[in-house]
Symmetry: C2
């Protein structure tokens, strides 16, 4: 029978710092480490609590407490008259914990799961851009919600309904669902009742939910070409087979979709303001798309991301209003309020609402309820519509400033594509220009532009998206000048004559 160690030779115990407090806990942790490192082996007899206490110059009770804890955890075993041993049932002790986490941070991947590399690439694509011109959806200065938003928020959060609460309905807070239904009925001709509204964390989640609920692995879907990369990434991630349908001046070319893949199960479209090109889908195309969906029993996912920001004429009525039984309507508060709020909504045909709720519950249960109550109050008190009216004016002025600045400063081989809606403009570069390289060069000079060509699958055209919302007119003007300088320096821009104002 082994004898207890007469002297304490457990290196890990050297780490106990009596001045730091919680000594019992420290001793327990040191003994665990000693066992993990093999300084103490299974079945080995420990020093008596008295000897250990004397050696560590702590009260014996402190050591007893640590031993009891480790017994409860199964590290140690104790029998009356037989002392305390390291448990014999510590089977297959794991490899020792790496001492320095820094090594772990730099260590090569052990064996990355198959999906991990693709998902890491997605992360790179979603890295937020700095908030410099011409970043899109930056709620800076006068386009941010004013003090009303914050004051109302403080008031609402002090109320019973919005106070810290338990789990909520995956569909969202009922009061907000009512407010959203009222809003989309009047402003977007969406046909719905509050029960059809499911609150989301924004359009991205709306797209993911729609993909989960409507489609199964291997299903064929239509997506516009070009399209929002965050949408096509969802379709790829859900293992759907995407047919990219070209877009012309009237929006998605339904005939081209019919020729390529008539039997798709769904179409993901941006009818009120094609992303990224900016034109609305014509009425003829809307009808053709709906007729196709009716014939094929297919779904249409209508991403209506910035229809509030229209500067001329009225917005087209939504596709959803033309056939509420076949269209999933997605809205977001990221554009007219601010992206960091992470609130949006789905309007779904009534028979699908429970499935959307279930998909949401599986993903993350529901959106935080505090801000849902704040937003409901903001809409109910008319502050939301006042905010939209206010920022529409601000955006219109900034848009005019940017158009004038680009007319003045851009080279002649660059074409501005007009759009009466949204928070960005589109600059076409000459064929053969490298918009990705130009965007990188611009970023190095403190200018954020988004290249268009990567958003195409077929026949990419080089171009840049320029956001104008979050920046004062003088910032936009100065950035246009800097962008011109980057273009002149960059290989992709040869001709440098100033373009005549059109």
């Amino acid at each position: 029978m082994p004898r207890p160690r007469a002297t304490i030779s457990i290196p890990s115990l050297g780490a106990v710092d009596r001045a730091a407090g919680q000594v019992g806990r420290q001793i327990a942790q040191a003994l665990r480490a000693a066992i993990a490192k093999g300084e103490l082996k299974a079945g080995e007899l420990l020093p008596s609590t008295r000897a250990l206490a004397t050696s560590l110059r702590v009260a014996r009770g402190t050591v007893v407490e640590a031993f009891e804890q480790l017994q409860a955890e199964g590290y140690l075993e104790s029998r009356v008259g037989a002392g305390t041993r390291v448990a014999a049932t510590l089977v297959d002790p794991p490899r020792p914990v790496r001492a320095r986490i820094e090594r772990d941070l730099k260590a090569p991947p052990i064996q990355l799961p198959p999906r991990a590399r693709r998902l890491a690439e997605v992360a790179a694509a979603f890295t937020p851009m700095p908030e410099m011109p011409f970043a899109i959806a930056v709620p800076g200065g006068s386009v941010a919600p004013d003090a009303n938003w914050r004051r109302l928020g403080n008031r609402v959060r002090a109320s019973r309904a919005a106070a810290p609460a338990s789990y909520g309905d995956p569909r969202g807070v009922m009061e907000l669902r009512h407010a959203i239904a009222d809003y989309v009925r009047t402003s977007r001709a969406v046909h719905c009742e509050a029960e059809q509204v499911v609150i989301t964390a924004g359009t991205q989640q709306g797209l993911y939910l729609a993909g989960r609920v409507l489609l199964s692995r291997g299903d064929h879907v239509w997506a516009e070409d070009p399209a929002y990369p965050g949408m096509t990434a969802v379709l790829d991630d859900l293992d759907l087979v995407t047919t990219r349908v070209p877009v012309d001046a009237q929006g998605i070319d339904v005939d081209a979709g019919l020729a390529a893949r008539p039997k798709a199960r769904a179409a993901f479209v941006t009818p009120s303001h094609q992303y990224p090109l900016g034109m609305p889908m014509s009425m003829a195309r809307r009808n053709a798309l709906l007729a196709w969906a009716q014939r094929q029993d297919a779904w249409i996912v209508e991403d209506d991301y910035d229809s509030e920001l229209r500067y001329a004429g009225h917005p087209f009525p939504s596709l959803q209003g033309l056939d509420p039984s076949r269209v999933i309507y997605l809205g977001t508060l990221s554009k007219v309020l601010f992206p960091s709020l992470r609130l949006g909504y789905v309007v779904a045909p009534a028979p699908l609402v429970d499935a959307f709720a279930g998909a949401r519950a599986l993903l993350d249960r529901h959106s935080p309820t505090g801000d849902q109550h704040v937003l409901a109050a903001y809409m109910r008190e008319g502050l939301f519509e006042a905010h939209i009216r206010r920022i529409r004016g601000v955006y219109a002025a900034r848009r005019a400033t940017l158009i004038a600045a680009l007319d003045h400063h851009m080279p002649r081989n660059v074409t501005l594509q007009p759009s009466d809606q949204g928070m960005h403009l589109l600059l076409w570069l000459p064929q053969g220009a490298d918009d990705v390289h130009l965007a990188k060069a611009a970023l190095a000079d403190g200018i954020v532009v988004r290249p268009i060509s990567p958003m195409y699958r077929v026949a990419p055209r080089p171009g840049l998206m320029l956001g104008f919302g979050g920046f004062a007119p003088e910032e936009l003007e100065a950035a246009a000048v800097r962008l011109r300088r980057v273009m002149d320096r960059d290989g992709s821009q040869r001709r440098t004559q100033p373009r005549r104002a059109s």
Copy 2:
């Protein structure tokens, strides 16, 4: 050539209400409706703007504005000298919009997508319970964050960092990731740097992300039996093949898992407080599980949902601390703060962090940033640890009250399972009792209990989960009495002698 209609016979135009304002918009909408309903047909000539204005008693400019809008939308076509016609390109007009959405709400599902029915069942399972005893995770009264949380929130949201902002990092706000890393290092012996922390919307999302990143369709995984239904639902939804591994007094029975499915790719476990049974995983089992994972190159997902609430001894150190390269650690603020906050975290091996970020970006980009800043400040200022200390005392007292009440009021054939941790207790019912039926009967009497048997796949035992956190001692006492009455009335409980206090 058809003549313009001499008289106005477009029924939809009757709906124009001049008193309601926005008359041009109303006229446009009425004409769209007339076209959709077939009152106006493709190619048909419209009355002149002058005739229509006279007929409707509005300014001619108002009608011109409506016509121009409809031309822009492609509904109408106009040529000089030839009047205005309904566009000939309105191909395949869709079926008329159903006039009454109520019919749509009640209509039978057109053709539900294959996944929709299963997801709707998930929604039913996630429907929140009323906040009555013995609901779990109800931040009522003295366990809710106190006024400090709200005041700090108001202050932080007024600061630049937490104000309305653009898109953020899918990994979360860096300041919060630092605060979480510091917290789990000290309190849970988790080995990590802030860079390994990814902020989530709670444990549910952490589970979904882990499934997405680590595993592919058809992969085999271990889950405990019984287990949290929100976890097993994620594994099913991701089309993984789950082996349910039985749990005994030491936690997951690793040998049983080895016998049933040695080559699984991952194990999803609740080592510090098995859900729902409540025991911690013994050290021997921890080592056996880690040794299996190392041999198989498998992942362990450690759901550490309520380790802060420990009433005796110290909590076991985390599995993650024993092998940080192989364990995904999931934490949540739902239990110690409140569920409606929807914040939690993943600690992942460094090489996997980008993949988690990418998966998060695809799902919903990131958590709202305002509350992330508030939480970071709450942790930095020491209010979080003070809150935990405070509620731990409140919970301990309520737990003692409930144990005494159950000892006093429960029948003898019901057994209380002790646990030193968490916010619920477990009552075993006699074999053959119908816990699902009993829970329904209790709910009808205003008592919320969660039945255990549905959480098993193999060899279900009937029992009830009783949360004690959100209710005052007198509420718990009264509810125990009411629960006894329900049991006596309910078929599943025959013997009614009072159980002796143990």
